[in-house]
């Protein structure tokens, strides 16, 4: 974030953030049961497009990655790959208790429990699963954070990449993915 000498956002950043928060392009990707809450959020009854939330097909086109429920170790590998392919700035929303503390899969041998150990999460939405109202309220929270210049998970990821990599490699035994550097 560009800051001026009074440690507030510059006018250019304000304009950028205005554009960013009103065109949140969501990657059409879902894990677990929360993916089923996304279609009603997007379609006519709740109509998330009012807030500029639109689905996109590929990681290169998307700004927001939704982690919609439990993540198995196998899926985590694909999610990290997807996240690293997305363009900056990028945001992550964690759905439901599974991403927060493991939820009902807290003693499962194959699902991770705390998502923010492996990738930066900007907004968590609680619930099991959150209803479309909560999903929209989570998006609005994300918009507020972007407006305030606080949704900087992608920066944290770049700065603390070693820490995230250590955590990721602890669960992903066979790391055969390309190493991105920014």
């Amino acid at each position: 974030m560009e800051m001026n000498d009074k440690d507030t956002l510059t006018i250019v950043e304000h304009i950028k953030n205005f554009a960013r928060r009103h065109s949140l392009f969501v990657l059409a990707y879902g894990t677990g049961c929360g993916a089923i809450e996304v279609p009603p959020t997007m379609t006519s009854r709740y109509d998330a497009e009012r807030f500029g939330i639109v689905g996109r097909a590929t990681p290169r086109q998307a700004d927001v990655l939704l982690i919609t429920g439990y993540l198995s170790v196998k899926t985590l590998k694909r999610v990290i790959r997807t996240y690293e392919q997305m363009q900056n700035p990028k945001y992550v929303i964690g759905f439901g208790s599974c991403t927060i503390n493991g939820g009902m899969y807290w003693d499962s041998y194959n699902t991770i429990k705390v998502l923010d150990q492996y990738m930066p999460v900007d907004v968590y939405i609680n619930g099991c699963m959150p209803r479309p109202e909560s999903v929209i309220s989570g998006f609005i929270k994300l918009q507020q954070l972007i407006k305030a210049g606080k949704a900087d998970g992608w920066k944290k990821y770049q700065e603390n990449l070693d820490w995230y990599r250590t955590n990721q490699k602890k669960v992903i035994k066979n790391w055969n993915m390309p190493d991105y550097n920014w």
Partner: protein
């Protein structure tokens, strides 16, 4: 229907005297085979008894008897009677016999059992992984695998959950409300 089952049991006992045949309480016929006879028995059932469909191969871990039990579930479209062919195998260093030449779909079940129970199949060596990826601990569906201890060691815990208090008692302690008698047996101590 019960007539059919009686007839089936009778003819199975006559044709396959090396196996014990009995009628299950909740429908279907159960057939216990030895490992040596298994492939022959299955092929015979397929050719002469009309059991053309393999529904599933299931595995049961009899930890106390140190055995694995494979259950082959077969289905006959004409008589509509389900048949369970059971075979007991050694738990340590035991192996099943692949029946991929009889039913190609058996490959999927054999891969799953090899991965989840660590039971190899002769004739299906080095099967590819089915569900897990790069798993190097004990096969997770074995009964002596402690999933809670494994997850505690492998993954991070969010602080504040380690005491695992019962939600009901926490809420009642906060608001001073009593736990209803009906809920007490289900409350975590």
């Amino acid at each position: 229907m019960s007539d059919n089952i009686q007839n089936l049991q009778k003819s199975l006992s006559e044709r396959l005297p090396q196996c014990s045949v009995k009628i299950r309480k909740h429908g279907g016929v159960e057939l216990n085979s030895s490992k040596e006879n298994l492939v022959g028995v299955l092929a015979h059932l397929r050719e002469h008894f009309g059991y053309r469909h393999l529904s599933h191969i299931s595995c049961v871990d009899w930890l106390e008897q140190n055995q694995f039990e494979l259950v082959y579930i077969l289905w006959n479209y004409e008589s509509r009677i389900q048949l369970f062919v059971k075979v007991r195998l050694a738990r340590e260093n035991g192996s099943g016999i692949s029946i991929r030449h009889l039913w190609p779909q058996a490959d999927t079940y054999e891969r799953e059992i090899a991965e989840m129970y660590g039971l190899p199949f002769d004739g299906n060596e080095n099967p590819r992984e089915l569900i897990l990826e790069d798993w190097d601990a004990m096969p997770p569906m074995r009964r002596d695998f402690d999933t809670r201890a494994y997850s505690k060691e492998a993954f991070y815990d969010r602080p504040g959950r380690e005491d695992a208090k019962d939600v009901r008692s926490v809420i009642s302690g906060r608001s001073g409300e009593e736990i209803p008698e009906i809920a007490i047996p289900y409350t975590r101590k």
